[in-house]
Subunit: 142 residues, 6 copies
């Protein structure tokens, strides 16, 4: 079993704000992240696929195809966007890095079979900053 | 002459949008950076001070004091803010990295004498992303 | 299950020296790391917590609280210190990166319930240099 | 169980080219990576060993010895070489990052007992670029 | 005066080999860099342009246009190529990082007026590895 | 004129402590950097040489020779050492990054003619941490 990873990036605005709560409660819980006029980040996204290399190509997955898939399915929908306002698949969800990673998994797990027969999605790693990051291994994980 | 540098960071939202122009013209010139709902970045800011080391301390400038000055005068005013909306010193200016660097210079050049007798401000380097960055050397530069 | 990580850093002096051995044996085993006058590093520390995101916040753990916990419980006790001399929880132990990671786990595993109900400590990753690093997953690991 | 890692690097040329296929098929599958005149990379290699620290040294494995082993057994054979032409253990195999990682595992798993009694090889992580990388956990993985 | 920089990258093979010299002399001077079967690198290229920001845009130069220019004029000609064999503008020159930077300057200095009226080329910085890099400031430098 | 740079590193202990002052004054001025039991850093050192490339080699300076010179003249004397105690050329000087850079310049400027006829020393850049660094351009600077 080999894990193969591709890193992409996007720049987006967001805020952490629970609309069920008062403004005071949001500021108490989320601090400056609740700023109503938004803030933003350079996100780094690492997608990892696992499988056995194909003997003809030496590849678990063609990284050019994986890069293209991530850009089409994720980056084009979030890059230079507002994650709370402009992104349909985040509607009604807190725009936390945790929730973004889960939604990215759902999108890519469904699309991955279109570019590889042998590779399975292993994880989504998402850096909000170089010091804050999350990793998601899917709904059932070892 | 020794150059001494301190790196700080902040996360902010902005858009590139000239209010004198139509929305079409803004999108033509600035592309996705003109998204009306904002986008954002993890900015990295490097402030460089030059001078001769003080024989008693070995310092051109005490970097703890320089760090504190940058945080108080810059980061507290831009971190987790919207650069077009929340930052008084950017009012009426395009929120480009170039203009941010110039404003940061103006603020720090005025305040630097409060923490060092021998050090002079040399440059403001500002990374919008790891691939896009600017450096400003002040109104008169060699 | 989502893994959430926070990176902090500290600068410290240490030496690798087993007091039961002769100086010659220490130099033979540890080489320049046994220098009796110490050497030091910029350590980078990544703490990873795992759990399911809270629906109200989107968080497994509030990273501002995790950062504060790591700084209070770890960094304030080791930053700008001598790991062999100044740090009570390392007394009587070899000041290796392996042993530091184990002690950091013990401290944080006990304190983590004070900041999160759902998150469990997953790992302690400690970089002594960008080329030498360790990761510890606790006393029982899969 | 502690994981201990050492990072080394080497610079090499290669191409992705299946000699059973026509030039057109190779260019269709591998794109510019099939350029017959080669291209190259700065590879970064991370070797991870796991075990319990030895009480006398605090070490799972002496990283100076691990570094020396990686350099002798891997880097001296691939650094400033052509991976398709100059490297006996890659003969007859596609020079993909996946296959390199598998061969590096086979070499190091056999040699590791010469430098550590307690440490077992855990993984080989190989960066072809900062954005494309693989990790291999051996023929039997958890 | 503001300096504005854009970073791009390419992967290429090369060797250092002076065809006027014997193979022995080449190996004596260039060591493993003279390997006749080539080696290669992930090059990082930083292009810096200087000028006064345009008041309408806040830009010295539109970095999207600068990125496109560098990719068209440089990266498409060197990426996944052999610098000694496949690149017409390096014909008859030693494929050193120094000479690459000079040729890149000559190409970009001629093309830059097509994308900016106010910006002048300031420097070409080229990383062959993270530890070996050059910077060229043009035929006349301050 | 081309600038050519080589990056090396070393790990060392030090403290900032002026022996003419009381302990209280030292702690007031230097804070935790005055800890009598030392602290330490992973220093990164970049040496830049400038000149015109030699037509036979394409080199301003052979970076293998520059690397060897830096390691022999600097790293072997400071790596895994205590900068206040173990390093003769720092005796009687504050062990600040500024003073280290000046001493490194003095050593390398004297030795550089032994490895290059055309290259002149341009600067010494020294990172104490990724966020604190200095650059020295020699006793006479443009």
């Amino acid at each position: 079993m080999v894990h193969v990873s591709r890193k992409e990036h996007f720049n987006a605005a967001h805020k952490l704000y629970n609309p069920v709560w008062s403004r005071e409660k949001n500021e108490e819980v989320f601090g400056p992240c609740a700023n109503e006029n938004w803030h933003g980040h350079n996100f780094e996204l690492i997608v990892t696929v696992k499988g056995l290399p194909d003997p003809d190509t030496g590849f678990v997955v063609d990284l050019k195809k994986l890069s293209r898939l991530i850009r089409q399915e994720i980056c084009e929908k979030v890059d230079h966007r507002n994650l709370n306002v402009d992104v349909p698949f985040m509607a009604g969800k807190m725009a936390s890095t945790e929730n973004l990673a889960i939604e990215f998994w759902n999108i890519l797990a469904a699309k991955l079979p279109s570019i590889t027969r042998v590779g399975k999605l292993h994880s989504i790693k998402l850096y909000e900053t170089p010091r804050n990051f999350v990793e998601y291994f899917g709904p059932q994980t070892a």
